[in-house]
Symmetry: C2
Subunit: 346 residues, 2 copies
C-alpha cells in the first residue's frame, strides 16, 4: 500500500448553485453545468439493462482506464506490490460542485443562493467485475482508508462544511457506471438530513446525558433480534424504524463522533463488517441495488461530541411516490426483525 | 352533481405499525399487512410497460367497475345527470392504515411505536382514458370537491391528526393502476415533511410578521419569470428552490391555512389552474410521470394561522440516489426560470 498525491488546481467557474428553500431552510442544487434543455426531458434516455453483455460494458468502461478516458489527474492513488494501481481517486468529470476560492452568497429578493462550490470526486477500485463482496477484506479497508485520507485533506479546504461518502450500486439505485466506485462530496452547507440527526442526538443527549446511538447499540446487542453482524469494533443491524426493506446501519461500538479518527485496525474491522453485509445483499437478495452513505459530524469547527458516525445502507426496493414525498413517511413492507433474521442466517 | 354517503364500519385489526425514528423524531410505516416474505424481494416483479395494450389494461382495470372488483362500499359517490356515477370514493383494498377505535402506543425499550390506525381511501373518476388534462374543468372541480367533502368527514374521526391527498401518475411515479385515481391518507401523526413547513412558516411569521408563502407569491407575481399560470384565486409557479425539474406549486393567492375552507368558486378556479399545469405536463413533456400532493394545516386542533395550504407537483425526472438520500439535498438539472418559461409558452 503506497500513496502519492497530486494537486489539482481547477479554477473552473461554478457549475451549480445552491438554493435555499425559504420555508424549510433546506438546500437544493441547481446543477446548471449539467443542465439539459427542456426538450431533453421529453425523450426517454435508453435504458441500460442487465442483459447488456458485460464484455461491451468492459470495453466502454470509463473507470477501467481512467487516464485514457481523460479523467482529471488523481488526487490520491494506491499501488499494489507489483506497482500496478489498486485504487484511485480523481475529480468527477461531471461535477455537481466545483472549486472556487470563495463561496459567494446572493440575495434575490426574499430568496438566498450560494455558489455551488466544493469538491466532487470519484473513488474506483481496480477490477471492473469485483465489488465489495468479491474484494478481499484488505482491499475494502483500502477504500475506507481512502475515505479517511481524502477527508483529512478536504476538511482543511476553505468553505467546506460537510463531507459525504456514498456508493450507488445498480442502475435502479442511480448508478450510471457498473464499475465499482464511490463518490465524495465536500459541500459548503450542512445537509438537511444530517442536521436532523445532529439536532435529534443533541436533544437526546441533553435529556438523557447519553448518546442516542450508543443507547440504540446497547439495546440492539441485548435483544439480538435485529443484529445482522458484529465484530470487536462494529455492529450492523436493521434499524427499528427502517425506512426500506433490509435497511442496515453499521456503527462503531465505542462512541465516536468523527469518522476521520478511525484507526488502521478499525478500518479493517469496518471493512470486514461492510463486506459481510454486502455479501448478504449479493447472495441472499440477488445482488439487490442499494445506496450507501456515511454520516459523520460536520467539519465546520463546531462541537458535535453528542453525534456518532455511522454507515447507512438502503436497498432500492420501492419507488418514493406521492405519500412518501408528501409526508416524508416511508412505507416498508417487511418487519426489520424478519429482515435481519433473513440476512443473518447463512 | 349529487352525493350519497354510506358508512363503512370496518373494525379490522391494524395492518401496520407506525414506528418513530428515535434520533430524528420522524415516522415510518411498517406495513405488515402488505408484507412480503423475504424471498419475494429477490425476484423482480414483472414490469408493466407502455407497450401493454390499453385494451387489456381496460379489461383488467379494478377501477372501471369497482363494485364487481369487490371494493369496499363507497364512502362518497357523485352522479351525472343521466344517473350514471361520475366519481366514487372507497376504502383502499390494500390499505397502509386501518380504522381502530383507539391508537395504542407501545414502548419497546427506548423505541416507540403506534398502531397504524387511520383511513386510506381511493378516489376514481369514471373514464379510464381521461385524466385531468382530458377532463372538463367542472369534472376536475368535482375531484377537488370530493377532497373537501372527505376532509370534513375524516377530520372529525378520533385519532386523525393529518389528512393528505395525493396523485401518482405513471408507473415510474409509483402508480400501480393506470385508471386516473387519487388517494386519501388520514393519519395519527403530523408528517415530518409537513412539520418542517409548519415550523419554517412559523419562524418566518415570528420574524417578519407576514406569511412566507404570501411573500413568495408577491415576489413571483412581481418578477413574473417563474410563473406558469394564474387566475383570480390561484397562482402556479416553479419554485425558486425547485427539487425536481419542472416542479410546480399551486397556491391560493389570498392567505388561507385551511384547504377545507375552499369555496365552490375557488374549487372551479383550482380545477382550472391544475388542469392547465397538467395539460402542459401532458402535451409539452410527453405525459411525464409525476407525483402530486396537497399540503394543508393539520387537524389536531392547534393553531396554524401562519400556514398557507398549497399543491405541489413533482415530475419524476430522476432517481434519488446516495447523494440525495445521504444529504436530503436534491439536484435539479434545469433552472426553474427556464422550466417555467418552457411550460408557459403555448
Amino acid at each position: 500500500m503506497k500513496k502519492t498525491k497530486s494537486k489539482s488546481k481547477s479554477k473552473t467557474k461554478p457549475v451549480s448553485q445552491l438554493r435555499q428553500d425559504i420555508v424549510t431552510g433546506d438546500w437544493v442544487i441547481i446543477a446548471t453545468g449539467r443542465s439539459k434543455k427542456p426538450n431533453d426531458f421529453i425523450k426517454e434516455k435508453p435504458q441500460k439493462t442487465d442483459q447488456d453483455s458485460s464484455q461491451s460494458q468492459l470495453e466502454n468502461c470509463p473507470f477501467c482506464y481512467p487516464t485514457i478516458e481523460k479523467q482529471k489527474p488523481d488526487t490520491l492513488i494506491y499501488y499494489k506490490k507489483d506497482k500496478e494501481w489498486s485504487l484511485r481517486v480523481f475529480p468527477n468529470k461531471f461535477p455537481a460542485l466545483t472549486r472556487k476560492q470563495k463561496t459567494k452568497e446572493y440575495n434575490r429578493g426574499i430568496y438566498l443562493s450560494l455558489d455551488g462550490t466544493g469538491f466532487h470526486e470519484v473513488i474506483v477500485t481496480r477490477d471492473h467485475e469485483r465489488g465489495v463482496p468479491q474484494l478481499l477484506k484488505e482491499e475494502v479497508a483500502e477504500v475506507i482508508d481512502s475515505f479517511k485520507t481524502r477527508y483529512l485533506d478536504l476538511m482543511k479546504k476553505r468553505g467546506v462544511k460537510y463531507i459525504l461518502f456514498i456508493e450507488n450500486h445498480g442502475e435502479k439505485s442511480g448508478a450510471s457506471v457498473v464499475h465499482p466506485h464511490w463518490q465524495i462530496f465536500a459541500i459548503p452547507v450542512i445537509s438537511p438530513g444530517v442536521r436532523l440527526e445532529l439536532e435529534g442526538s443533541k436533544r437526546y443527549q441533553d435529556a438523557n446525558k447519553t448518546c442516542v446511538y450508543c443507547d440504540m447499540i446497547e439495546q440492539e446487542i441485548k435483544t439480538k433480534k435485529r443484529i445482522v453482524a458484529k465484530n470487536r469494533s462494529f455492529v450492523a443491524f436493521c434499524p427499528y424504524a427502517s425506512r426500506s426493506a433490509f435497511e442496515v446501519w453499521i456503527l462503531p461500538r465505542v462512541h465516536q463522533p468523527y469518522f476521520e479518527r478511525i484507526s488502521e485496525t478499525q478500518e479493517l474491522e469496518a471493512a470486514a463488517i461492510l463486506k459481510k453485509v454486502l455479501e448478504r445483499y449479493y447472495h441472499k437478495l440477488n445482488d439487490i441495488p442499494y445506496n450507501m452513505y456515511l454520516h459523520t459530524s460536520p467539519c465546520n469547527g463546531e462541537d458535535y461530541r453528542h453525534y456518532h458516525w455511522h454507515i447507512e445502507l438502503l436497498p432500492k426496493t420501492s419507488i418514493w411516490a406521492g405519500f412518501e414525498l408528501g409526508t416524508g413517511i416511508e412505507i416498508s413492507t417487511i418487519e426489520p426483525q424478519k429482515a435481519a433474521q433473513f440476512l443473518k442466517k447463512s
